[in-house]
């Protein structure tokens, strides 16, 4: 049981991270980003190629990959999302679905559909009597919590406040001298970087394939929905809870049950409390 909870928390940490990426784009550009998983996937393939083909040290490859993720987020926002500001979610949902599939097929074109192994980031584990905790699990959890903490602080800084103001109303901040375009691009860059870390952590010491991003996006949506798409704490708790539930269902029911937990969870959350379990009490007009 405790063992399942530990692995659940580690898996949930990636879900929480992807959800944080979703919350960032939602908070600033009010776009529900269905392409988030694919945007995290491409940089991780870049990291793998830098490490395995150019023989860069793994840490350096990761840094370079995150820079690529930032750049890609900025470019995607610049080319597509910026032109849709003020349009309905109907339009932005379709746009991000288009981006999702375009990016996924670019990954397939460049790197193929064969699963590719990804090395672990840290190794080793320690025994706590009944449960074994690996360093990789601890690190995943720590990275997730650290990024969540950083975001909470960040949204209170000048840049963070500007981001939230732009989400509230794209016009007034502009009158006050805020560069809305810069803010919007920056938020997509940050979100894309976070998504890359989410995909990297979930695929570490395992394999990477063009579906890796798709597997994460639904879980990320569940976690973000639990937090009403605005609460960072809610997204983290939602992600961790989902990871634990999936692992428990996998251990005590069946493997098939584990993969339906997220899908059922999202429908239950939306039916019971559409604004999110931990979100604001009053729904934001969407």
């Amino acid at each position: 049981m405790a063992q399942q909870v530990i692995s659940g928390l580690a898996a949930g940490s990636s879900y929480a991270l992807l959800a944080l990426g979703l919350v960032v784009t939602m908070k600033t550009t009010s776009v529900p980003n269905f392409a988030m998983g694919a945007m995290g996937l491409l940089p991780v393939y870049v990291i793998r190629s830098l490490w395995s083909q150019l023989h860069l040290p793994y840490g350096l490859a990761i840094l370079a990959g995150i820079v690529v993720a930032f750049g890609m987020g900025w470019v995607v926002e610049r080319l597509t999302i910026r032109h849709l500001i003020g349009l309905s979610h109907f339009t932005t949902v379709l746009m991000t679905i288009g981006i999702w599939f375009a990016l996924n097929s670019i990954v397939g074109l460049l790197w193929g559909y064969e699963p590719q192994p990804l090395p672990g980031l840290v190794s080793g584990s320690f025994d706590l009597g009944q449960v074994v905790v690996t360093n990789a699990q601890l690190m995943t959890l720590a990275v997730g919590l650290a990024i969540a903490g950083w975001l909470i602080v960040f949204f209170r800084t000048t840049w963070g406040v500007r981001m939230r103001a732009v989400a509230e109303d794209p016009l007034v901040p502009r009158l006050l001298g805020v560069r809305v375009a810069t803010i919007s691009g920056l938020s997509w860059a940050i979100a894309s970087g976070i998504a890359a870390i989410a995909v990297l952590l979930s695929a570490q010491a395992s394999v990477l394939n063009p579906q890796s991003g798709d597997d994460l996006i639904i879980s990320g949506f569940v976690a973000a929905t639990a937090g009403g798409f605005s609460s960072i704490g809610g997204a983290v708790i939602g992600g961790l809870a989902l990871g634990v539930l999936e692992n428990l269902a996998g251990a005590y029911l069946s493997g098939a049950a584990a993969s339906t937990v997220a899908l059922l969870g999202i429908m239950v959350i939306l039916l019971v409390r559409p604004t999110g379990l931990l979100g604001p009490g009053t729904g934001r007009e969407v």
Binding site: H89, T92, M95
Partner: protein, 330 residues
């Protein structure tokens, strides 16, 4: 032109077209007939999405799964001795029920929350196709027993089935769109907050639109099973969803004709990318080129032509660009 002459001309045109389709199996080559049948099947499913996404303005991403429900359930029932028409009707009705079920949250959810819920539901259906091996045989795949009728070969029979269904669906939905129900659906899209005071139950009409579109997805899926003859879960996953979305928005989400034009577009693009010329020039494009093309098409259409191809004549006629076509009342 006097009405008598006009109706005479229309009547003659319909007869000529009908005769053309009736005798098509005699003069069309088998592959072209196969593609045209495929287009008709996508068009049937697409008109359902026009009702739901175009007229009623609800995002729905579960229809690849519902299409699969129609295909699998019909194949299963017909494989257990049911007559095909009864099996197809039962399966489409089951699909309509599932559609109404996923539409239930629609009364409370808006915009992207509905998109997430329906996407999850579609994935749930895909998982069911994979996991429920006693019914679907899972990833191994399931052969579909071909329908039989004396004196006619199966491809021709499937051709007639698809064409007659498409014609019936088009006529019925055109009438529906002009009826009170059609106007109420569009009212839910355009002035939802005012519908209550007009005595229109927005929830009832949303559920109706979900049920109609799911029924048509199921019906199209039933015929699709006959066309493809072998079902695997991956046929009804995300790539099909993207095809439906591209079809709908390239054609024009508000018009029934858009569903047909969009269906022609997606099949033409697919054939072009699989063609000998492209595959010999850029071999890498054969695998993921299709998804790439559809993803980029969706991006470009949403960005530059939100009303789709069927909005072009209107846009060219009026020099002033029209307001966003998604909210345009026909």
């Amino acid at each position: 032109m006097s009405p008598a002459v006009r109706y005479g001309a229309i009547g003659f045109g319909v007869l000529a077209l009908g005769a053309g389709f009736f005798f098509a199996p005699a003069y069309l080559n088998a592959y072209l007939m196969y593609l045209l049948t495929w287009i008709a099947i996508y068009a049937i499913a697409g008109t359902g999405l026009t009702v739901l996404m175009g007229w009623t303005g609800q995002i729905a991403l579960a229809h690849a799964g519902l299409f699969g429900v129609g295909a699998y359930a019909t194949a299963y029932l017909a494989g257990h001795g049911w007559p095909w028409p009864l099996a197809a009707l039962t399966s489409s009705t089951a699909s309509a029920g599932l559609g109404a079920l996923v539409g239930l949250p629609a009364a409370r959810l808006r915009g992207f929350y509905l998109a997430i819920a329906t996407l999850a539901f579609g994935e749930l259906l895909h998982q069911a196709f994979v996991q429920l091996t006693p019914l679907t045989r899972g990833p191994q795949g399931m052969a579909v027993a071909p329908i039989q009728l004396d004196g006619i070969d199966t491809p021709s029979l499937v051709w007639y089935l698809a064409m007659v269904m498409l014609a019936a669906v088009m006529v019925t939905l055109t009438a529906l769109g002009r009826s009170r129900i059609g106007r109420c659906l569009k009212a839910v899209r355009d002035i939802e907050s005012a519908t209550g005071s007009l005595g229109i139950s927005a929830m009832r009409y949303k559920l109706l639109a979900f049920a109609i579109s799911a029924f048509l997805a199921g019906l199209a899926g039933a015929v699709f099973g006959q066309l493809i003859t072998f079902l695997t879960p991956d046929l009804f996953d995300l790539p099909l969803l993207v095809i439906f979305l591209v079809q709908l928005f390239v054609g024009g989400v508000n018009r029934l004709s858009g569903a047909l034009i969009g269906a022609i577009f997606v099949i033409a693009v697919r054939e072009l990318l699989q063609s000998h010329v492209v595959s010999s020039l850029v071999p890498a494009l054969v695998g993921s080129g299709q998804t790439l093309a559809f993803g980029l098409t969706l991006i470009l259409v949403v960005r530059y032509l939100p009303g789709g191809l069927t909005s072009l004549p209107g846009r060219l006629r009026s020099r002033r660009p029209r307001p966003a076509t998604l909210s345009q009342v026909e």
